[in-house]
Symmetry: C2
Subunit: 321 residues, 2 copies
């Protein structure tokens, strides 16, 4: 979704600085790291998390250079999880682009992910406050914990809405919340503004991940850049599937137990989910989270920064890829 | 090398507490994490790094509980690198025990390694000083950087002694140095004692890794628990090989370029290294580092703690596995 920030020339320029900061960090290292980091940056369209850091900082009095470095650290953390996720999922494509894992193999994907984790931590330790440095460490533990449970719960049809929500809270919403929090906190925002922005990020992240999971089942490959039904093929049951299983006469459960892998099997499983109202109910929940996120920021001072956030929440909810 | 700390009942007891602290951290998580962490702990004989933290703390006024937690964090960092190293090396055995990677596959090895990294960071952020927390982040970046260069330099016969030393400094000595440093620093030792212990750790780590690399080429499988020549098979040229290549008539370089993999080819390559004086020169350098390490601690107050360190330096130099 390059072009996501097209209406925001200043933000686009800042995000380019963040990319340069990441490339710069990689330049000091080995050529394999450099090439891999460039590859990851290219397949990284929206740069949502660093954009969130920058947008949140605009509610305070930001030191642009410091905020850029924190934004870079957060994006590197995200890139690290992507590099490792692709090994875990044996994924060959991400958003239509070949993954690092597919191009350079598991060895490089492990190493580059670790390198990104480490550089992210040392960057945070150098520039952020102790509190944020601690928060960051906890978030990483939480993201990894959620990945572990997602992996452990594969092929388990008895998963619940509650468990799904907990998993995506750890996997996605926690880092969205942190991005907004650090941007605000490191620019001297008041505790009230920090916690509103953090809660906004959390709800936005929940809605974002639900939509992501809906698009995986119901999206068009031509738009999302990856074959539909990847989660189903991996045995990862997301919200639409969990809702659909509640209305199931046994046919969806039976289809899942046959572990669909072919395009045809995946398409017919997706149809069963749609017929059982899984897509609609999931979209409804994404809508609820988006509304909650908007309520959170309605208490913030009006102005450009708030308007941008309102538009972001809306675009992420209505996206098709 | 279980039994390495047999003469030290108090230290053995403390290391058992460190193991329990690590198991406790894993218990709060998923069963896959628990089982994997137990497996890693079992194959982890000497627990050198946490022992170093505890030994160094005895030069100050340690808070045992806090030191145990820092020691646990450092061991978890080491375990994380092992879990990921085994993926990178596609290693099925480590010290005679099946690796996590071999038993549970790359997916779990990636996840558990990440989980260990993250928990380690959050533990450090919670209990250590800001300075040590920062130092730790930098060390991890350095360890990962060294792994990347080791991976990039595979099959490169033009590697130099200097490059080898830089690599093992990042891969091993930096974490040995940090273990001694944090143990001392967090127990309120003077800057002089901290830096002596840190330099002791550094030299000890250099000597330790050289011996490890010698044993890989010249050790008995029955003692080391892994087939000899693993590094040669992976194209990782360590100090004995680098020294031997300096005295080579072309036969060693030719043998390496054929990428030895069979037991027979590895044994004859090892013989070429031995004949070209690679083993002896490497052992000599390990000896030099050990002597330097002993000089560093000769300035510390005499007593039990110092005597133990002297014995450790000696046992690590003369070990056969």
């Amino acid at each position: 979704m390059s072009g996501f920030w097209d209406g925001q020339p200043e933000l686009t320029r800042r995000l380019e600085e963040v990319r340069s900061a990441i490339r710069e960090k990689a330049r000091s290292d080995d050529s394999e790291v450099q090439a891999s980091v460039s590859q990851l940056l290219e397949s990284n369209g929206k740069m949502l998390r660093p954009a969130f850091v920058i947008l949140a900082s605009q509610f305070g009095a930001p030191d642009a250079d410091r905020i850029n470095r924190i934004a870079a650290a957060i994006e590197m953390l995200h890139m690290a999880t992507l590099a490792h996720d692709d090994i875990i999922d044996s994924a060959s494509l991400r958003r239509g682009v070949a993954t690092l894992y597919a191009v350079r193999g598991p060895r490089t994907a492990v190493l580059v992910g670790d390198w990104l984790f480490a550089v992210c931590f040392s960057l945070v330790a150098d520039v952020a406050t102790v509190e944020d440095s601690r928060a960051m460490s906890r978030i990483v533990a939480r993201i990894c914990g959620s990945e572990v449970s997602q992996s452990a719960e594969r092929h388990c049809v008895s998963t619940s809405v509650r468990r799904y929500l907990r998993r995506i809270a750890g996997k996605t919403a926690a880092l969205f919340a942190l991005s907004f929090h650090v941007g605000a906190y490191e620019s001297g925002c008041s505790p009230d503004v920090c916690s509103r922005l953090r809660r906004f990020g959390y709800c936005l992240g929940m809605g974002f991940q639900i939509i992501d999971d809906v698009l995986d089942i119901d999206g068009l490959e031509s738009m999302t850049g990856k074959p539909a039904g990847q989660d189903l093929a991996d045995g990862v049951y997301t919200l639409p599937t969990v809702f659909a299983l509640r209305n199931d006469d046994g046919r969806l459960a039976a289809a899942l137990s046959r572990r669909p892998r072919s395009r045809r099997a995946l398409a017919s499983t997706a149809a069963l989910i749609r017929e059982r109202d899984g897509i609609r109910q999931a979209l409804e929940m994404a809508q609820l989270y988006t509304e909650r996120s908007l309520r959170e920021i309605s208490g913030l001072p009006p102005g450009d920064a708030r308007t941008v956030l309102e538009n972001v929440a809306d675009s992420l909810l209505h996206r098709t890829r």
